[in-house]
């Protein structure tokens, strides 16, 4: 109580363990992200500037530049990515426009079909396009004298695979609009085209930029598609695979991975800068825009949706059909032989079981970790204050790190003989961790958004009522965030089921996942069993999605009745 104490800075005197626990948990989360994200990527950066003796040197870059064909691979990767972006984003924009801004019937159906490519590995598209347009393809004539094996096939399959990613962003970007702007434009008798150019497009421009960068990054880092349908067309992602898996040249792989990391990181840095400049386009006074029926606009959009949906379903149907046909194209009798002999008897079905385990574990481990970390960042106040921005940055980083790059980082880090975690290499554990880290950012953002939407005073009220923070987390925060939690776990499950990129470097013969086995089957020329495996994955994802839809419907309507209440 003396005068001198008044001048010294005050610190919270919290002696009870429950006051301090959040701080410790936060530190623990930061440490885990350090070990499983920062260090592997750091190792990759370090690995690329070391020679074989571990001395600092730039020789690897020199070697890389001197490798014949590398310049071509860089150029090919870039121009294909640009073409894919220029096709995929406009296609997705008009599809999203039809769903959100027009009175097209069956909007829910178009939306689900538009996202259907997410249900399978990216290879599904590649396999299917081979069947449609390949040497024995049904629609081969459509390509004229061009072969599907090469840039054309890569572009088609990548557009197909990246379409839902662009669609998700654009559907959100077009979800809300200020109806008053359209009324003002109408009052000034602006033409339909002028309204589109002056009201719709400017409001969606951030979404468009974001979608373009996501598609570009996807195309640059996608490796399964060029591997399957690319023929002799060289791209960087395949080059990494060849260097690391084919030639066991980890150092060279690291250099190529670094090259891959740069454009993707640049794209995400640009996106981050642009999004920061975005101001709330919708103020509290905005009147939501509700489209009115207008067949001049709706009919062409409906036809467009039907064409797109047919094309997308055509891809999935062809993959399923291939898996059931005896010997394409000579014996078209339907049979389950690819499933029975190609998968079960050949022992490849274990891969499917591995994938199921992997997906379940990824969802079970990733969901609580990601949600709790977001909670600690957003809702607690103890622990070092500089840790929160650092954790936020670490959570945002995986979005800019292609799976291939993460995989190589994991090899370099966990395969290092001096690493005490060395034993993790090749195990299911490391694959689960790689999946959680690889898909961290989207999940983190989902969790953060739902946590931010909760009144920020709940914790204060609980503290004033002397109720532990964790009681409030369990009784209030978690139930309120349940839809987000379900979303995160479904997202993790389906991505773990379908991903190839990071896992291709981490599996052992015992832990081979289904999605990677498709690649191996294709390499062995077993297109039928490959299609069968792809179909199994798509079916599993579909069933799981339906189960989730059912579960959330049940949970939200039966046990969370408060959500639907109106005064």
């Amino acid at each position: 109580m003396s005068r001198s104490t008044l001048a010294i800075p005050v610190r919270v005197n919290s002696s009870s363990w429950s006051d301090r626990l959040p701080g410790w948990l936060l530190v623990a989360a930061a440490l885990l992200l350090c070990i499983f994200l920062l260090l592997p990527i750091g190792m990759l950066l370090a690995g690329s500037v070391q020679d074989d003796q571990g001395q600092f040197s730039l020789t690897r870059f020199g070697e890389f530049a001197a490798t014949p064909g590398m310049g071509t691979a860089v150029w090919n990767t870039l121009w294909v990515a640009v073409v894919v972006t220029l096709i995929s984003v406009p296609l997705a924009f008009f599809y999203a426009y039809a769903i959100q801004r027009a009175c097209v019937p069956l909007r829910g159906l178009w939306r689900i079909v538009g996202l259907s490519a997410l249900l399978g590995p990216s290879l599904v598209g590649a396999i299917s396009f081979i069947q449609w347009f390949g040497t024995q393809g049904v629609l081969k004539s459509w390509l004229g004298d061009n072969s599907v094996y090469g840039p054309i096939g890569i572009i088609m399959a990548t557009v197909y695979a990246s379409f839902p990613h662009a669609l998700m962003i654009l559907v959100v970007a077009l979800a809300t609009a200020d109806g008053r702007l359209f009324e003002a434009a109408d009052a000034l008798s602006a033409s339909r085209w002028r309204k589109f150019l002056t009201v719709t497009l400017p409001a969606a421009r951030y979404g468009l930029i974001s979608a373009a960068l996501v598609v570009f990054s996807y195309s640059v880092s996608e490796f399964g598609i060029p591997k399957v349908i690319g023929g002799n067309f060289q791209v960087l992602a395949v080059e990494i695979y060849v260097q690391v898996v084919g030639q066991q040249n980890f150092g060279r792989g690291a250099v190529v991975a670094l090259l891959l990391l740069i454009p993707v990181l640049v794209a995400f840095a640009v996106d981050w800068r642009v999004q920061r400049r975005q101001q709330a386009s919708l103020t509290a006074r905005a009147v939501p825009y509700v489209p009115r029926p207008d067949w001049h606009r709706d009919l062409p959009l409906l036809i467009y949706c039907m064409l797109m949906a047919t094309a997308m379903l055509g891809v999935l149907v062809m993959a399923a059909y291939t898996s059931l046909v005896s010997y394409w194209p000579y014996n078209l009798k339907l049979t389950a032989n690819h499933y029975i002999y190609g998968l079960a008897e050949a022992g490849v079905l274990d891969a499917y079981v591995n994938s199921l385990k992997l997906a379940v574990l990824t969802a079970l481990v990733g969901t609580p970790f990601i949600f709790l970390t977001a909670y600690l960042i957003e809702k607690t106040r103890t622990g070092p204050s500089w840790l929160r921005p650092v954790l936020q940055a670490m959570a945002a980083l995986p979005m800019g790190v292609p799976g291939l790059v993460l995989g190589i980082g994991y090899i370099l880090f966990f395969n290092h003989p001096d690493n005490p975690l060395n034993g993790l290499y090749h195990t299911l554990t490391i694959m689960v961790v790689a999946n959680v880290v690889h898909y961290y950012t989207s999940c983190h953002l989902t969790a953060l958004t739902s946590l931010k939407s909760i009144d920020c005073e709940f914790e204060a009220v609980a503290a004033s009522l002397k109720v532990s923070q964790f009681t409030t987390l369990w009784r209030v925060t978690l139930p309120v965030c349940l839809p987000a939690v379900l979303d995160i776990s479904r997202y993790l499950f389906i991505n773990a089921m379908t991903t190839v990129s990071a896992l291709v470097f981490l599996y052992s013969p015992q832990t081979l996942p289904a999605s990677v086995s498709i690649l191996n089957l294709d390499e062995a020329g077993e297109l039928g069993p490959a299609a069968a495996m792809a179909t199994l994955i798509v079916l599993t994802s579909t069933i799981v999605s339906l189960l989730y839809a059912f579960a959330s419907h049940f949970l939200l309507h039966r046990h969370q009745a408060w959500r639907q209440l109106k005064r």
């Binding site: 009144d455 009220v461 009522l465 002397k466 209030v476 005064r567």
Partner: protein
Amino acid sequence: MDALFTRLPMAHLEIKQLTKRYGNFVALDHIDLAVEEGEFVVLLGPSGCGKTTLLRAIAGLELQDSGQIVHAGRDISRLSPARRDYGIVFQSYALFPNLNVGANVAYGLNSRTGDRRAARQGITQRVEEMLELVGLPGTESKFPAQLSGGQQQRVALARALATSPDLLLLDEPLSALDAIERVRLRSEIRGLQTRLGVTTIMVTHDQEEALAMADRIVVMKNGQVQQVGQPQEIYRSPGNDFVADFIGRGNLIEATPAGAQHIRAGDLLLRCRIEIDQNRKHRFYVRPEDIRLHNILDDCENSFTAQVLKYEFLGPYSLVTLDAKTGQSRPLVAQFSSNYLDGRPIHPGSILRIGIPAEHLRPMPAAA
């Protein structure tokens, strides 16, 4: 120890030299404040004045850079929120949406000690009692979304009071409500507070609310206390220009001395109630409602003619902007109640005779 006990008795809540900075921005600048037991104190000021920061510092939700808070003889300045003794109500109600009203009110009531069944019964009873108290009996099983804003705020109040805290903190509790509900709830809160005798600190930016509810008002600006006093005191004799401006309307009149009790402002010679220092300028403050309207020929003390510049009819009263040759840059604003005017029309351009009674010329300190 003896020296401590022989000192003047400490106030129930005492804040000493509390300071809080955000970078270069000073949110709280050496705040001193003493709140007596059972008192209803309102922190009033424009946004950014530090009133909410002060409340949150008392709650332990913001940590001061320096200074001390003593509550009921206990130094709480470094305690975490959970280890202080208060209930809090926020502008947003902060009701848990997934819990019904009963569970919300019971949230802070502990059932872990002793006989479970008896404890649970005790809780049920307490919840019933609290809901009765705030005028919402029988609403236990409803969810917050089913209640109106005013009802939700009553539940939040019941929840905050259920644990019988020694201090009640209200953070703009009425701001989210519509005008009618706001007026109703403010008298309910005040009534409840008087009945329970709980020491209460409320933050608001609404001067009318502050005047209507407070035992004492603390006017704040730029992180500093401008004036502390009872509502009448604050309204009748504002301590400085800011308080005068912020609370109610007013006319500031700068004048030169013109005799022992007389001043000159422009063309006007006015008598006032205080002794006038002949060697300096003086500033006086006149509330618009203190300006009298006279018969045009009634030549009484401190009365003069003025031309109407603007007339605004506002229902129960009218505001009249007048050119009165007072020598001020701003015209004089007078407020006449409608029953006082009794339907007499006032037109722009017409000439009125108005007066400022000497006792309503309130001296102001020299401008800072």
